[in-house]
Symmetry: C2
Subunit: 327 residues, 2 copies
C-alpha cells in the first residue's frame, strides 16, 4: 500500500490538484476552473468528484491527508478569509467543507506558505531551517521559515512581504495603500514599470511596437532575453526594489537562502543576477556573502501541488511525532 | 537548595551582573566598568572575582548556568564578533573564556535577543509565542520570537531591525550605509532630529536655551512631558519612522505584541501613542487592531540582567527536556 496525500492549489482562475507520495511524485493531477463556481459549495462538490475519479485510477494507495494552498488561506482557522481574487466573499471554512467529503485530516495555508513547505520537503530548501520563499506572480507573496517552522504569526497571516512598503507615497496598491513591494516586483509591477519607462526613456525597444494593453511580463522577459536594452533596464529597476527589500528582510530573519518562485522568477538569471547586485548594495556588512539567492527547486508544472502536499506531509509528521520519514 | 543562574549584560561603558532565581528575583547584583579593561582576559578575570564574591554572600544556592547578553553576541558560536563599541576587537570566544572560571553551561546572545527572552520568561510577553522586542537605546536593536523560539537566523545574527533601511539615501549610519531605522528612532536619532528641527522650525522651545552639544534624549523627553510644542513634534517625527517600520515588521512576522524597551521607551505614552497612530496609518488592513504596542514588563533597573538570566533558564529548560518549570 502506497501512502499518498492530495495537494490542492486554489487559484483565481484555475484550481489544480494532485495525488502525491512522500517522495514528491505526483501520481496523477487534474484541474477545474475556479471561476465556473459562484458558490463555494458547488466548487467543493465538483472538486471532490474530480479527485474521486483520480483516486479510483490509482489502486493500492491509502489516502493520509489533504493540503490546500489558497490566497488568504489561514492555517490556524482552516479558512480562506476575504480573498480579493476568488469568486466567494467573506470567511470560507474550507476544512469544514472538505470534511463533508473526505475522512482524512485537512490543512490549509496561503499559497506562498505552501510554496515554502514545498521547497523545504521536496525543493531548493531541503535540510534548511532558515529560509524565505518569495513568490513573484501577479502579486508578491512570501513564506518565512525560521528554526524549521513556518512563521504564521499569532493570527496565521505572517509572511506578507509583498505588502511591506518600500517607497512611501509610491505606486498605488490594490490593498489601498501606496508603495508596497508588490507594486514594483510582481508581474503586474514589471508591466507598470514598462509603461513608465517607455514614456520616460528614449532607448530603442521592441516593446515600442506592442500596443500598451498587450504588454505582459512574458513579453518583457523575452525582450530582455534577446538583449533589448530597455527591457534589461526594466529588469534592473525591478531588481532594485526587490534587492532593497530582500536586504531588509535578511536583517530581520537572516535566512540561509532566499528562493524566488513563480511567474517572474522564471526569468532566471535575468532577474536573479541584478537582484543579487542590488541586494549587496543595500546589505549590512555582517550579512555579506552569506545568504544565497536561488530559483525554486520544484518542477514548475506542479510546484503549487507539491507545496500543498508538502504542507499535508509536514503536518502529519507533527501529529505522528516525527514517525513519518520524508524524502 | 535554591537554583540560580548568573545573568550578565556586557555594555560599552558598564557590565552588570546578577544572581537570579527561576522566579526572576535578582538576589544580588554588581557591576564593573567595561572600559577599564583593554584586554578581554583581564576583564573576564575581574568579572569572575566580583561574581565569586557575590556568590559567597548567598549560602544555600546551587549555580546552574550563565547567560550573557552582549553587543554582536552570537548564540551559535558563543562569541562576541567585531563589536563596534567594546574595547576588544575581532572575534572573542566568550564561552571558552567563561569555561576557564565556571563549571556550568554558558550561553551568549546579543542584548536585544536577551531582552526578548527576559520579556518572555519574566515580563510583558509571558505566554506569548509570537512577539517582537525593540530596544531603543543609543542604537536600535530587536529580538524576534516566532513559534516560541528566537529567530537567530542561519548565522545567529537575525533581528537587526535597527539596520533595516527606512529611507533610501537617508541619514548616515555608523554601519556605513544610509537611512537605517536606528538613525531616526534611537536616542542618538532623536538628538539628531532635535538639531534639525531647532534649525528648521520657528516654534518656541525650551530646547533653544540648551547648547547644541548638551542636548540629550532625556532633555527632549522632559521638554515633551512638560508640553513643549517642538519637543512634541520631535517625538511625533520619531514615531513616524518607528510606526512605519513596525507596520512593515507586522506584515512579516505578524506578532501578538511589539514591546518597546530601553532608554527612549522610558518616555512611555509620549512615544507609544504617536507610534500607534503612525503604525495604524501604514498597516495592511488584515492586521488592523491586532498587534499590541506595549512597554517592557521588566523592572528597568535590572532588565538587562533578567534578560541574560532568562536566556540561561530557557536554554537549560531545552537541555533538560522541559523538566525545569519557569515562573
Amino acid at each position: 500500500m502506497k501512502e499518498v496525500v492530495i495537494g490542492i492549489d486554489i487559484g483565481g482562475t484555475n484550481t489544480v490538484y494532485g495525488i502525491v507520495d512522500k517522495q514528491g511524485n505526483c501520481l496523477i493531477d487534474g484541474n477545474i476552473a475556479t471561476t465556473d463556481y459562484h458558490k463555494v459549495g458547488a466548487f467543493i462538490d465538483a472538486l471532490h468528484q474530480h479527485i474521486e475519479t483520480s483516486l479510483q485510477q490509482l489502486p493500492g494507495i491509502v489516502l493520509r491527508g489533504i493540503g490546500v494552498g489558497a490566497p488568504n488561506g489561514n492555517y490556524y482557522n482552516g479558512t480562506i478569509e476575504h480573498p480579493p481574487n476568488l469568486p466567494w466573499k467573506g470567511v470560507i471554512n474550507l476544512i469544514k467543507l472538505f470534511k463533508e467529503h473526505f475522512d482524512v485530516p485537512c490543512y490549509v495555508t496561503n499559497d506562498a506558505n505552501a510554496a515554502a513547505m514545498g521547497e523545504m520537503i521536496y525543493g531548493a530548501a531541503k535540510d534548511m531551517k532558515d529560509f524565505v520563499v518569495v513568490t513573484l506572480g501577479t502579486g508578491v507573496g512570501s513564506g518565512f521559515v525560521a528554526n524549521g517552522e513556518l512563521i504564521y504569526g499569532h493570527d496565521g497571516f505572517g509572511g506578507e512581504l509583498g505588502h511591506t512598503i518600500v517607497q512611501q507615497n509610491g505606486r498605488e496598491c490594490n490593498c489601498g495603500r501606496k508603495g508596497c513591494l508588490e507594486t514594483y516586483a510582481s508581474v503586474s509591477g514589471i508591466v507598470r514599470t514598462t509603461h513608465i519607462m517607455l514614456a520616460e526613456s528614449s532607448k530603442p525597444s521592441v516593446l515600442r511596437d506592442i500596443p500598451a494593453k498587450e504588454i505582459t511580463g512574458k513579453l518583457v522577459t523575452d525582450a530582455a532575453r534577446n538583449g533589448d536594452p530597455l527591457a534589461l533596464e526594466i529588469f534592473d529597476y525591478t531588481a532594485q526594489w526587490l534587492g532593497f527589500s530582500l536586504a531588509n528582510t535578511i536583517a530581520i530573519t537572516s535566512p540561509e537562502a532566499i528562493i524566488l518562485f513563480g511567474g517572474l522568477a522564471q526569468a532566471g538569471d535575468l532577474l536573479i543576477q541584478p537582484v543579487k547586485q542590488h541586494l549587496q548594495n543595500n546589505l549590512l556588512n555582517i550579512f555579506e556573502g552569506k545568504t544565497k539567492v536561488i530559483p525554486s527547486g520544484l518542477n514548475n508544472n506542479n510546484a503549487a501541488i507539491l507545496g500543498a502536499s508538502a504542507l499535508a506531509w509536514q503536518e502529519l509528521k507533527k501529529v505522528h511525532n516525527d514517525k513519518i520519514k520524508l524524502n
